[in-house]
Assembly symmetry: C2
């Protein structure tokens, strides 16, 4: 498979993106780096001999910046890097694209270039979060700040199909993120979504409190994109804070003990969000993966690996079946 | 001061509530335990000699259960423990009440018994969260699942006044919890709230991403009660998960080293939500404090200590001034 990589998207682009891409190519992944050609070549030159690597370049303009209104920016610059990356997928020159840039711009580019799956009104960013004994899928993690209950129903269908592939669970338990477990708790959106999901052809387990996001009580957790993004970023913030406080209290002790340092490293990797690398935008007709805005080379490499895994699988086909109400 | 304690509220009531109350009384706090008298006496009897402690009992019915509709429950049972506790404050027999029971029921009881401060449409639960080098106030943490922008403006005024007392900050930095720092990011509610707070007589610092809740970038973070509760519970869930993973990776090593065990204990206390004990319901006309539903005796003791601290201060007076637009 071939993965189109938006070389210009993300806070640390193009440096870290190109570094991660080179790493992925050295491990055998075929890539198309998308960005201003001279700029991309310049970055590639930082990595020694790359001429023999399976890396092509597709010329494009700069990325949509984080503080730009994405719709206007993409209209003004149809050759923005993320749009060109999406076009490569639309025309089957690549099987998936990866960007660490503006989420809204990535969705608009995907939507414009290859459209939506039948039965989907809004796409959802599906993020994998660690749980006590495994992982769970959280969606929408930020593509749609305002959602209606029907969107959450669609997220439930898509999330269930995605969890079968991404987590290898045959009958994923699907819950609604809310503030109380009883059906009547929550806000208007969660109450209505609870009713719709109760009759959907999935293994619906009801409302979940936010602490249960990490307890393993559900395999798929659906919510609107505002709530999902808050949940994800709070998780990151707490993990970061705990890391800092632990380092302050235990740092010197840990550094003095090789066993401790190794155990602490295992722990850190387990809770590091960049380990999962990228989240697919479920609901668009082809594969679009979005990485964390602060993606480092390691995160980019992990994101590209995720794109390869999904491109080799049958995610889009399974989503189509799930949305059509067929058992998968 | 005298604190009314809802002996029946919370998942672990009355056992842990009475145990925490006895502990507080042994440290000199005067209390009124509110609940079915025989039941409360029975629990008190578990703690040896308590006759000399400054503990009175106010007879009441059972608590409002977590799965009851609180409005109907309080109408049906005007002598429910939380309602009687609120009445003791309304009639100045106590200066504050504490409950670890149903948040909605606590608000309705407070509202019915002593009403709202002028200028407040909705109360907000103000929780103190740890940050890297201190603490911040998050409100609303769950009293109002559906909010309008005007409510968030009021939360900003109240939160700012409360942070002056609770955190000892003279000009608290107030931010809106959103999904992107730019004024245009977020959902309809946060965009409108951003505009209203920009002209409010507080030190408004704009939108905050959820990871900044713990970074110390703001002293006061406002949001609707659904979002605030999700943020709080995700924080708890991540802290719990990290604790479990750390124990799995490092447990045996930590237990074998006294220095490590001590440092780890300091760390755990720092991130333990029960350490702050209780959150005031800001906006009601007198002091109402709400503890975590799972409050243990230690958390109840800390919650009562918080009630004493606020009752000895001038929080309600300061809130009144802030809401009237007077500098404090």
């Amino acid at each position: 498979v071939l993965i189109a990589v938006d070389a210009m998207g993300g806070d640390l682009a193009p440096r870290e993106v190109v570094a991660g891409a080179v790493e992925a190519a050295r491990h055998g992944t075929s890539l198309i780096l998308v960005g201003p050609e001279a700029r991309v070549r310049e970055e590639l030159a930082q990595h020694g001999e790359t001429a023999n690597l399976p890396i092509a370049i597709a010329d494009a303009d700069e990325a949509v910046a984080m503080d730009e209104a994405p719709l206007a920016a993409l209209r003004r610059r149809p050759r923005a890097s993320v749009r060109v990356a999406a076009r490569l997928v639309a025309t089957d020159q690549a099987q998936a694209f990866f960007t660490a840039g503006h989420t809204g711009a990535a969705f608009l580019a995907a939507h414009a270039e290859f459209g939506m799956l039948p039965g989907v009104d809004r796409p959802a960013l599906a993020v994998i979060v660690p749980t006590r004994d495994g992982a769970a899928v959280l969606l929408d993690a930020g593509a749609n700040p305002e959602c209606q209950a029907e969107h959450l129903r669609q997220f439930g269908l898509m999330g269930s199909a995605y969890a079968q592939v991404a987590l290898g669970v045959s009958k994923p338990r699907v819950g609604v993120l809310s503030i109380g477990e009883e059906a009547g708790k929550g806000n208007d959106l969660t109450r209505e979504a609870h009713a719709l999901l109760s009759t959907a052809p999935i293994n619906f387990v009801g409302n979940l409190e936010a602490r249960d996001l990490f307890s393993g009580r559900a395999d798929v957790v659906v919510c609107d994109g505002f709530t999902g993004n808050i949940a994800l970023k709070v998780g990151e913030g707490v993990a970061e804070l705990i890391g800092q406080l632990l380092a302050r209290e235990l740092g010197s002790i840990i550094a003095s003990d090789a066993r401790l340092e190794e155990a602490f490293g295992r722990f850190t990797r387990r809770v590091d969000p960049s380990e999962s690398g990228a989240a697919p935008l479920l609901g668009v007709a082809k594969l679009a993966l979005i990485g964390h805005g602060r993606s480092t080379a390691d995160a980019v490499r992990a994101g590209i690996a995720m794109a390869v895994r999904l491109a080799n699988g049958t995610v889009v086909e399974r989503l189509k079946q799930a949305l059509a109400g067929r058992a998968s």
